[in-house]
């Protein structure tokens, strides 16, 4: 009895999530896609590390952290660009994107140094 209500709830949940998400604007969806891609890449690297071992550790860390880092920066960009966030309504989206690019530049320069 409880099982079926949970299943029904889960179904209703997924349905409402899907319908609410499809209402988001396209530029935010692009950013979300980029985030999902980065996270999946990180997961693939972790699985690979689990299979072949973690030597050299700095290469593994730099790979995973570059994916995680760019995902997190993309989330920050999404927050700043989203028109429904009242806190950032004075921030022009060009400035947000410029900050995003700068931080990614620094991130990847450090990653290249750390890659070994």
């Amino acid at each position: 009895m409880g099982r079926s209500t949970t299943a029904k709830d889960a179904e209703a949940l997924v349905h409402s999530l899907r319908s609410a998400y499809s209402a988001t604007p396209t530029n935010l969806k692009i950013i979300d896609f980029y985030i999902a891609f980065a996270v999946v890449t990180a997961l693939i690297q972790v699985v690979y590390m689990a299979i072949v071992g973690s030597f050299p550790f700095n290469s593994f860390l730099s790979g995973v952290l570059s994916c995680v880092g760019t995902a997190v920066l993309a989330v920050c960009l999404r927050i700043q660009v989203n028109k429904e966030n009242k806190e950032f309504k004075d921030l022009p989206p060009e400035r947000a994107f410029a900050d995003f690019v700068l931080c990614n530049l620094v991130l990847h320069l450090v990653i290249i140094n750390f890659l070994g």
Binding site: N58, C76, C103
Partner: protein, 727 residues
């Protein structure tokens, strides 16, 4: 505008000067602020120059000599050689990987300043740059304190904070000219990182977070105390999350700083992978994951717009995620992959840990718990202004004031555990006290200046009086007693601050400006007598011993011997190898024959001891001897501490333990001392540091011979004789 201002300010030379410049009020205020900041900058620099003016421009203490030697190497050989340096002149026969076991921030900073000055064609010696690095960065810290105070409260508080931190003895103690140590640069980096982070949280800008990540990188490169930042910032984020003050800006600020800061910090070889493997750094990672979960849930709640569905989501999704997370953490800690807190930081949480388990940490005098007198000595009036400032911070809570309250409380706890950490608490105490001072004086000035004139007036701290003019209607009929009382309180505040300035200058001059490599004392006629024995001994070593000679001494002097004497040492201040130090301790505490075997096994050519019996110098090796016994006994059970004590007392006179009277350290320190009369009216062999006549005056050395004793007998060097040809 200037007409009415001229009416209110009593006619004086200063105001007529301002009037003659025909400046508007805002420009007058800016001029006063800039003038005050410039004066504070110069004051912070020159207040630290006592020892340079009294003695000469030299590096103090023990640790800074290593930093100086490393900086010289960096200047001569370039960054690549420095980063990959393996030093064979210390920790003989092990050597030390210097490139991978130091914090390069200080040396690189000094080298950059040196190269910049050279580029501008100022050909200064690197020693001058090293000596003056700390005062220069202390002056920069006052600027950062000004901006931080402005962010926290207003520009008035910023000015007061800059002035307070410029002369606060807690900071001066580790940043005088000549104290070329990591803390001089690290406190600047600490305050800069905190300021940039608070700015990032207030503005929510990625650029400020990037700046704070760079500030964190500078702090990691400069000092091991960066662990404080990487734990305080997550604690702050956690407090904000719990109290419900979180916002999108917090997410942007913390995540950018954490990811970029962590990556940058891992570029320092000494830190390595600690950010993902050490227990001390796990709080930051935990808060990072918590933030992702928190904000993701927030976003889902916003998407769903329906509380019931959101509860279902919570039930299904979050329970599995939390279970997974805790399982991972548990497995990581239990399997040993995530290392627990190291001894150095664990002893901060449990102060009794070091004394029982790690004698080397317990033996350093700066690691002892702080006495109340130290607090009063280092802070003076800031001690009671600190709680007053806390009150003001709570009255006007914002994200920034919550941060400074957290910083103040945690750093005060740690300052109570270890004397050395008073330094870390000083910026917080100065900032919070500045808030109290600025708010109080502002209120008092408003009360004093309540008049029936509607014009605005500029006070010394840059606050305007528009508030008072709006309250005019109610205060028009105020009692004159209120004005007089406020004026009296203002005078009292001025008196307190002037006493603070006098106290700070006195403390700096008397207590914190001694180079400790050059000793001073008052002679019989009150004239100042200088003992330059340390440098005398090191230069003797440099000029009279073969270049590959190995010198055995207690680890305190290792850095100085390598830097000034240019000879190989067995152990030095880095104390990375406890067994090696215990071997030296065992040699010093054994009878001469056993000690000779140990010295032959280490290829020792010379032994150096420090002795204060003739001058009354109390930081000599005989007073440190019990620590040698404890550290040696911690590794070699053959050395037992009770053998050297008599009924629990440590004595060197006739009633001392027989093992004490015949051990190597005793013999080396008191060789030929029995014939010397040190004080009028006392028998020969009277030890002025212990205040007793020594027990064993007839000392014969079989395996060593005296090589050199300095003019005041402070440093004594002995040569190890090769084994006999025939028996």
């Amino acid at each position: 505008m200037s007409q009415s201002a001229g009416d209110l300010i009593p006619a004086s030379g200063f105001s007529s000067l301002l009037k003659s410049l025909k400046l508007k009020t805002k420009q007058q205020e800016l001029l006063i602020r800039v003038a005050i900041l410039c004066l504070v900058y110069v004051l912070a620099f020159i207040s630290r120059l006592f020892s340079v003016l009294r003695y000469e421009s030299m590096i103090h203490e023990f640790d800074p000599y290593f930093n100086y030697r490393v900086t010289q190497f960096l200047i001569r050989n370039g960054f690549y050689e420095f980063w990959n340096w393996f030093d064979s002149e210390s920790w003989y026969p092990l050597g030390r990987i210097i490139g991978g076991t130091l914090y390069p921030g200080l040396m690189v900073t000094a080298a950059l300043i040196y190269w910049l000055l050279r580029f501008l064609r100022f050909f200064v010696h690197i020693r001058e740059v090293c000596v003056l690095t700390a005062p220069f960065f202390a002056a920069n810290t006052t600027l950062v304190a000004y901006f931080f105070g402005k962010e926290l409260w207003d520009s008035g508080a910023g000015l007061v904070a800059a002035a307070l931190i410029a002369i606060c003895p807690g900071y001066i103690s580790r940043s005088v000219a000549g104290s070329y140590d990591n803390e001089g640069v690290a406190i600047f980096a600490l305050l800069l990182t905190f300021y940039l982070f608070v700015k990032a949280v207030n503005t929510g800008s990625l650029a400020w977070s990037l700046a704070s990540a760079f500030g964190y990188f500078y702090m990691v490169s400069a000092w091991g105390g960066y662990v404080f930042i990487i734990n305080l910032v997550p604690l702050y984020v956690l407090v904000l999350l719990i109290t419900g003050r979180y916002s999108m800006k917090l997410y942007v600020a913390y995540n950018c700083m954490y990811v970029l800061g962590m990556l940058l910090a891992m570029q320092i070889r000494f830190v390595g992978f600690q950010h993902v493997q050490s227990g001390e750094h796990m709080a930051a990672m935990g808060v990072f994951f918590l933030m992702q979960v928190f904000y993701f849930l927030d976003w889902v709640k916003y998407l769903l717009n329906d509380p019931k569905k959101f509860h279902t989501f919570l039930r299904i999704g979050v329970t599995t995620a939390v279970a997974l997370g805790s399982v991972a953490l548990g497995v990581g800690t239990a399997s040993g992959y995530i290392s627990p807190w190291t001894g150095r930081f664990y002893s901060l949480l449990d102060p009794t840990y070091a004394k029982d388990h790690i004698p080397i940490i317990a033996s350093v005098s700066e690691h002892q718990p702080t006495a109340w007198s130290s607090f009063m000595f280092d802070y003076h009036i800031l001690l009671f202004l600190f709680p007053a400032g806390l009150y003001f911070c709570f009255k006007r809570l914002s994200d920034a004031t919550i941060f400074i309250v957290l910083y103040g409380l945690t750093s005060m706890y740690f300052a109570g555990v270890m004397v050395r950490l008073i330094l870390v608490a000083t910026p917080a105490v100065c900032l919070i006290s500045a808030i109290a001072v600025s708010a109080t004086i502002k209120n008092l000035c408003q009360l004093v200046r309540v008049k029936s004139k509607p014009a605005s007036v500029v006070t010394a701290k840059g606050t305007t009086n528009t508030k008072a003019s709006s309250k005019q209607g109610s205060l028009e009929t105020s009692f004159p007693i209120q004005r007089n009382g406020a004026a009296a309180l203002l005078f009292g505040a001025f008196y307190l601050l002037s006493r603070y300035a006098i106290h700070c200058t006195w403390v700096t001059s008397e207590a914190y400006s001694s180079p400790s490599i050059v000793l001073a004392a008052r002679g019989a006629h009150g004239n100042r007598v200088i003992f330059d024995d340390y440098r005398e001994a090191y230069f003797w070593l440099q000029q009279n011993t073969p270049p590959d000679a190995k010198v055995m001494s207690w680890w305190d002097y290792g850095y100085q011997i390598t830097a000034m004497g240019n000879r190989t040492v067995i152990v030095d201040n880095n104390t990375w190898n406890n067994t090696h130090i215990a071997t030296v301790g065992r040699a010093m505490a054994s009878y001469e024959d056993e000690a000779y075997d140990i010295m032959r096994s280490l290829d020792v050519d010379y032994v150096l001891v420090v002795f204060g019996g003739v001058t009354g110098y109390s930081s000599d090796d005989i007073n440190k001897f019990l620590w040698m016994v404890r550290i040696g006994g911690g590794v070699f059970p053959v050395i037992k501490e009770p053998d050297y004590l008599v009924n629990g007392d440590y004595r060197v006179d006739k009633g001392a333990a027989p093992k004490m009277l015949n051990c190597l350290m005793y013999k080396l320190c008191y060789y030929r001392f029995g014939e010397l009369t040190t004080e009028y009216g006392k028998p020969p062999g009277y030890d002025r540091a212990r205040g007793v006549e020594i027990g064993n005056k007839d000392i014969k050395l079989d395996h060593l011979e005296e090589a050199f004793t300095t003019s005041n007998w402070i440093v004594r060097i002995y040569k190890v004789k090769p084994p006999n040809n025939r028996w």
